[in-house]
Symmetry: C2
Subunit: 298 residues, 2 copies
């Protein structure tokens, strides 16, 4: 296999890799669950070799993004302060010997907002490079959703919203989960939650209604998690879009993307652009690697 | 002992009781951890007798409030719709034979707000009767804080805010708890959280800062829980007081009361009135019982 570049997305719980040819076409893909949290210090090169060693001739450049660059990862790469261009990510990439070839770890991003709130991302900056939005808002939803304002090709602000983690905590560990039953995928319950949060985004004061709607049998047990999801996503959209009903680019697929698209539209925003997360990851790694290799051929 | 009335606050995890004389003075107090969640169906009379049987001559009236009136309790008492007067609680009390004398269970309250959100309380209505606020806002903080608007002696609206439960979930089960260390009682970290939430009450978009403030060592590990507490209490106060900077009556004691008092003052409200929870419970039971016994002597 004539691999020109290996791209690696190495997160907390998963390891995924792509082999690219000289034209940037994907020659092969591979993944396993050897996420950073499962790899002991000193074992990263071996784990990488086991997955993609056969793609490299020993000189193939390797670009790595994600938690692999955290303190718990292979080597700690810095957080670049915002505003940051794609080219800054390439310039500040951390050089390392990756065992199967020369490697670079993509740095994270950090932003301090005008309200003093400090935020960071690590891993999503690769998808951001892949989404390739010059001006506008990019949403990377998930356990910790990231909202990024792009201006003239630079990431100008980052805000993390813990919607996915709050949903998991509240369904698994709180009183709200007690009345829930599995099964439902109820768009009406979701919409009711979204609309209530758009009207009144203070979730502290609305979450308890998940219990009362169940207690008084106004929402079926199997639909209560959809209602909670609507409350949380609606509050996120309300907090992050304000009155600006601009078009948002969502980096996600499936149900996650469609729920956010639905909530954005109910908030009055135009239908968002959707970029699949895998595509954004592989394309982002490719773009950053090309900028690195232009200056510093492997 | 010449007991004229026995008052019982029977919650999910605790059972507390007071013996009153004919003038409403407390003759004795007793409590144990035989909360409703620990008592099997059919065993309530026995558990009550074990704690306070010796206070009764077999005809002493017994007034009971709290989760003892829930579906999982001794007998299910209804929820009275708002607006509800103290006298409505007495009128709708559920008569039962309490084994050691004639008993009444105080009903709960339910309110549907103009935004369609339904809310309930059970147990706090007794403390509300004890706090005896004719007009204004009463706050009963805790795992599930209750905010009640009183008008002409009637509870006109109830809103539950899950601040205490969110704090417990986030410190015990979320990523935010990982960087926390025990020990601190840091008023500056608390105030910073309060002020940030008062400026921007969408906690979805600020909670992640607990992690970043720790990660970048701007707040010490032992102070991170104070910062989180400030964010949550600040958001609660912002959502529930709006621009109306009226005086609030807080039913609580100690650190809980002082944290809410501090947050209310930072929001521009006058120093709240503080009513200790135990005092509100015993006085509330006494007041409701007197109204019942006026009409229907035991």
């Amino acid at each position: 296999m004539n691999t020109a570049l290996i791209g690696v997305d190495w997160g907390t719980s998963n390891l995924r890799a792509w082999a690219f040819d000289g034209q940037g076409r994907v020659l092969a893909e591979a993944s396993n669950d050897a996420g950073v949290s499962t790899v002991a210090s000193g074992q990263f090169a071996g784990v990488l070799r086991a997955l993609v060693g056969e793609w490299s001739d020993g000189t193939t450049p390797i670009i790595l993004g994600g938690m692999v660059g955290s303190r718990q990862g292979w080597r700690e790469a810095p957080y670049l302060p915002c505003p940051a261009q794609l080219s800054n990510l390439a310039d500040q990439a951390l050089r390392l010997e990756a065992g199967i070839g020369p490697g670079w770890i993509v740095p994270g991003l950090s932003c301090e907002a005008s309200d003093g709130i400090l935020d960071v991302m690590r891993g999503e900056e690769v998808q951001l490079a892949g989404a390739n939005v010059a001006d506008g808002t990019v949403l990377l939803p998930g356990t910790h959703s990231k909202w990024v304002r792009m201006s003239a090709g630079a990431a100008c602000s980052v805000r993390t919203v813990m919607t996915g983690e709050l949903f998991a905590l509240l369904t698994r560990h709180s009183l709200l989960g007690r009345l829930m039953a599995p099964g439902g995928d109820d768009p009406d319950a979701f919409d009711l939650g979204v609309d209530r949060s758009l009207a009144s985004p203070a979730i502290s004061a609305s979450l308890f209604s998940v219990r009362t709607e169940g207690l008084f049998q106004r929402i079926a047990p199997s639909s209560l998690s959809d209602y909670l999801s609507g409350l949380l996503i609606g509050a996120e959209v309300a907090a992050m879009t304000g009155d600006a009903r601009e078009q948002v680019t969502i980096v996600a697929t499936g149900k996650l993307a469609s729920r956010y698209a639905r909530a954005l539209q109910r908030a009055g925003a135009p239908h968002p652009l959707i970029v699949p997360g895998d595509e954004a990851s592989s394309l982002g790694l490719l773009r950053i690697a090309r900028l690195i290799l232009e200056k510093e051929p492997a």
